[in-house]
Amino acid sequence: MASGLTYTMLDATKLSTSEIYGAVLCELGEKHPDIVGFSADLAKSTKIGLFQKKFPDRFFNVGIAEQNMFGIAAGMAKAGLTPFVSTFAIFATMRALDQVHTDICYQNLNVKIIATHGGLSFGQAGSTHHCTEDLSIMRSMANCQVIVPADGIETANAVEAAYYTPGPIYIRINRGFDRRFYDRAEYGFKIGKAVKLTEGTDITIIACGSCVYQAVEAANILANADGIKARVLDMHTIKPIDKEAILEAVHDTRRIITVEDHNVIGGLGSAVAEVIAGSGKGCAFERLGIPDTFSIIGLHEDLMAYYKIDTNGILECARELLGRDFEADDDWEDEV
């Protein structure tokens, strides 16, 4: 990568996703004195505490006061500093949404919101700490870009890219360790550009976050057991969504599954559906996610299985979708 971040497989194996975030922020902070950090009594949990240790004068723990935190961050951004603000996803996008909306997004300020404990990754904490609404909420904030990295390495890439991209950015990561997917940082991460992980012409699985690993596992099984060629797209950027990759997938495979650790309303599935509906192309389509309910309690991986956003759930859906009928339009070939 351009700025020479040095993350390797070893780092990614040893560190949780948020620890990688904290480490990357320290590296960026070394080079860029304009970076300031914020947390609301969750410096340890979100791992922005690593930045705090290194740059105590540039870090502000505002106590359990998220609204104030985003307001102060807005004031600092107005003065030309670059705040990185970390708390749990549910507090960033709901407790302090008025400040995120009015103080940051409306004024198009250069504030990076790195929210941890996204989706059902804090599964045992119960629904007060689950966050399956944030993508829907943040996607509707004008000026704001929304990123859901697949693992630690992609988080490193996203955090670095966020620094170099002006304006408000929301990055959602999980609590604890993610199944490592990328083994090196140099795979061409670019905000707004999906990563094609497997080639395929029978069906496309579009995934984000922890579902990316599961999607690739499912694609491997489909290839080996069913002889089905599934394309997998890591759609790490939910906004701006990569329309080109979606339309190409519709054209090439005509069957699309989206999978996300989020309510099926308003997140990745909705964003993809909007692109497909707008294109006028016929296609068999299914959204996997949390079915508009508050989740049961449990370990993240168990919950992913329960809501069928894991490998088995994707497999089941793919096999059903392959047999599903749909109406293709006549001039299909003309309109790529």
Partner: protein
Amino acid sequence: MPISVNERLILEKKAHELRLLCVNTVMWAGGGHIGGALSAMDILTILYYKYLNIDPKNPNWPDRDRFILSKGHIGVGFAPVLADKGYIDKELLKKYNHTGSDLAMHLDSLKVPGVDASTGSLGHGLSIAVGTALAARLLKKSHMTYCLLGDGECNEGSVWEAAMAASHYQVTNLVTFVDRNKCMIDGPTEEVMGLEPFAKKWEAFGFIVKAVDGHDFMQLSEAIDFALEEKSAPVVIIADTNKGCGVDFMEGDYKWHYGSLDSEKVEQAFESLEKYYQKRKGVSRNG
């Protein structure tokens, strides 16, 4: 140094002109938050014509003093000040609120030069002000941040989050005002949601409180001078004001939080403001 009698008279005249312009703006806009605009006008006047180190020709000058209008709904009072200072063309006031205008009830910092923060949702401004003040400290700049809150706004919990932080971080390059006009949309503040003992609340949050008559430039000036010198704790100036100050049929009436004015009402308001101005001119130091 306290302002001289002559300076006071100059400020009285300016505040009078701005009140007239505010009344006109409300008429042009078809309505506006006039009660709280008139109650805050003397605070805006003394800041913009005596204290703020700003350059209207260079609104983004990094070393300027910042002014965060936390009670963002008084755009009809703030925009006349910005127009008079030369940030915007006075003619724009005639199209206030009109479709396609850059001037809305709540002013947008990306559309209106001189507006340091887009506000309107209450309880945000003090946090932003703490942010600009802390940024100045980090960047080793000497400029000040001034923040004006409404009293009803202090129902918002986020105000007290910000107050706690201002005190915790010893943010003394910040001067906070509360326009204590004792009214909010649905009634008197003490009926809707009591704030008293208000000064004690701020003191409990670590502020030094200066309680002043918010329409007395001498008292305002003394309090601001004190706040600028004070480095042991942040200072809040609780300015006791009258809702609708200067317009007899509005004064002290919460129903004039927001209102419209036809040409007849504008005439009445002008007559009343003229009488008020004549009275202010005659006020002695202790009057």
